[in-house]
Subunit: 386 residues, 2 copies
């Protein structure tokens, strides 16, 4: 297996981007990443996307985006695992380069959610859950996460306010990210006053519906050393695990078992432990998910994820900074693109290019990208090459 | 890069399978393949599917099918490239095993098309074409293929009847395939009398709307030798190429350039030429596509694909047998599953298990799986291990 490095990153701002089509967003992110890497044309493209077949009447994004980006002819496919699509697309690219079949691979996570009505988007997002046992009952994606959050609060005796620091931290970090959707801080009072979406999830517990694209260029380590003017970042681990789609079949509602398994596999591959991780980009689609990620990945004991947040450990200067560029909550959550945004944010940290949000001496970092309510979890560990 | 072998195959019959849900179909094919391989549980699952997000309100098939098959926890994703989804899912599995990241990988192509109205299915199939430049004009998928066929007939002065042998051969071969949708032969008269769908494409030029699932188990060559009681089949080449989604942007409407490119790459990888191929499973979704595949892959000069068929060269005893178990036309075309069915049919031939349809001394064979009207083409070459 060849060592794989990240040599280019690109991203569009996240927001309601009504002037840009789906393919235009992908083009912008990919061209930026290719320029960053100093390459003209990759050999293969892996697209992470969840909603285009329903919201844009468009499947077959691999060839479409390859062509529109000026790369007609190259190998190209879409890789999908609901909101973990970006993460699994990146993993497919890593495998292709590691195997020796491909030298230069491009990854693009892209999603266009704001051209449709909220009703259509809500029903499209519900396809991440079990259609026969959850979707058919009318369970929206927020409602399913609300069930988990309610159970967490009951089981561990945690008040709703305990989740506020996740949202406050994410918004605070988004202030300094020009690509973030919400570049403004919020206070505990704002959190408390926020309108309820699906109790106990309020507006500030939830990530927004939005558009965006992020991209990454990968190549083998030997080639990377010739290409890169920037600090090199190496892929130390890439691991996916799964669980049941429906909540009712889970063995452990609060354990996020797929996150535990994928983190365990990733630590093994990288020969590292939680203590070695300097930055952790969590999948904070809902604040409850941030808490569960921290616990599943070994940064907090069960039921203690919110305490970690309340003690300030998750801030840029804390012992395990999360959502450092705003996370899904502050930067935004264009679902199929999110896994790639997480990786782009982490590379920005490891390169030392995070500006006011720079985590000091960030050398090793981790991302966790979640599909559905935890049915697919992809963990990546990246390390700066010294 | 490790050598990769196929150690198990499975399939459901193809048809209007109203008694089986999407997950049930996948389960049946995967369990059959696992039993054939003599394995209990793979490490990773790659699902090829195109239409579930629209027709079954279900994305996120990787985790769903892994769980339903009894493999909760394993790595699992969906890989999509319209009707080439089965082929690209298989390629992802090959890469994962070749890289060393995964030892035992499962692939499942699955599609459920007959639970919805023909109107919904037609609009879902159109997502394989360019939504902004073709779909929005109301161009159905049959209509786009009709444009290509019409141009072929005009450019090369070929009459409509010249395409009949493709359909006759496919139906003839389907007679002996218990999993085929249409197990009956047709005559030239039947072909001539068939009702027109979108001129010049008639009923017998088109493959059916249907349900089905096919599955394959892969592992490294060393492990395969320990596992397999059956003749081993090795992956000699795996190559994908792309073109524009929309026909108007093609440099060459009749060249099927992505098929040319992917075949060329595959021949290079395997160090083989068309003369070495004993069986060719073509993507005969429409009879025009069978003709273009034969030309693009080097079995006939431009404009001579139909002549090859008329001279009987494509039959079981011909010099380049195609659609040997009925092809997309006779066996059926559950779109996202088709690429896997093609590979399963080829393995059946290479193992010498094709019964009345056995191609004598079949040692090396090729499959071509096409997404859209030729925007993604995946070519695989497999060889029997002596």
């Amino acid at each position: 297996m060849r060592d794989v490095c990240i040599v280019g990153i690109g991203q569009t701002p996240i927001g309601e981007l009504w002037d840009d089509s789906l393919r235009e967003l992908a083009f912008k992110a990919l061209r930026q990443a290719a320029a960053d890497a100093g390459i003209e044309r990759p050999e293969a493209l892996y697209v992470g996307n969840m909603l285009a077949p329903r919201l844009s009447d468009q499947a077959h994004l691999g060839a479409l985006i390859a062509d529109y980006t000026g790369w007609r002819g190259i190998e190209a496919t879409t890789v999908e695992a609901a909101c973990a699509s970006g993460g699994v697309a990146f993993q497919a690219a890593v495998r292709a380069v590691a195997s020796g079949a491909v030298d230069v691979a491009a990854v693009c996570g892209v999603e266009k959610m704001t051209d449709d009505t909220p009703e259509l988007v809500t029903s499209a997002l519900a396809t991440a859950a079990d259609a026969d046992f959850e979707g058919v009952q009318g369970a929206s994606f927020v409602a399913l996460n609300a069930l988990i959050m309610q159970r967490y609060m009951y089981e561990y005796g945690v008040p709703h306010d305990a989740f506020a620091p996740f949202s406050i931290n994410a918004h605070q970090n988004a202030v300094n990210n020009p690509n973030a959707m919400f570049q403004r801080a919020i206070t505990l009072e704002d959190y408390k006053r926020a309108s309820m979406i699906a109790a106990p999830i309020n507006l500030y517990d939830s990530s927004p519906i939005c558009d965006g694209a992020a991209a990454i260029i990968l190549c083998p380590a030997e080639m990377a050393r010739e290409l890169a003017a920037k600090p090199l970042v190496r892929v130390l681990a890439s691991a996916t695990a799964t669980d049941s789609l429906d909540l009712a079949s889970r063995r452990d509602l609060l354990g996020l078992e797929a996150a535990q398994m994928s983190a365990r596999k990733a630590y093994q591959q990288a020969e590292l432990s939680p203590a070695d991780i300097d930055v952790f980009e969590v999948h904070d689609a809902f604040s409850i998910m941030a808490a569960l990620c921290l616990e599943a990945a070994g940064f907090a004991p069960r039921g203690q994820g919110t305490r970690l947040a309340q003690e300030g450990d998750i801030t840029i200067s804390g012992c395990i900074p999360i959502s450092t560029m705003g996370g899904l909550k502050g930067r935004g959550h264009p679902v199929g693109a999110t896994g790639v945004y997480e990786l782009v944010d982490l590379v920005t940290q490891l390169r030392g290019e995070a500006g006011a949000n720079q985590v000091k001496n960030a050398a090793v970092g981790m991302t966790q990208n979640i599909g559905g309510t935890g049915a697919t979890v992809v963990t990546h560990i990246l390390g700066r090459v010294e």
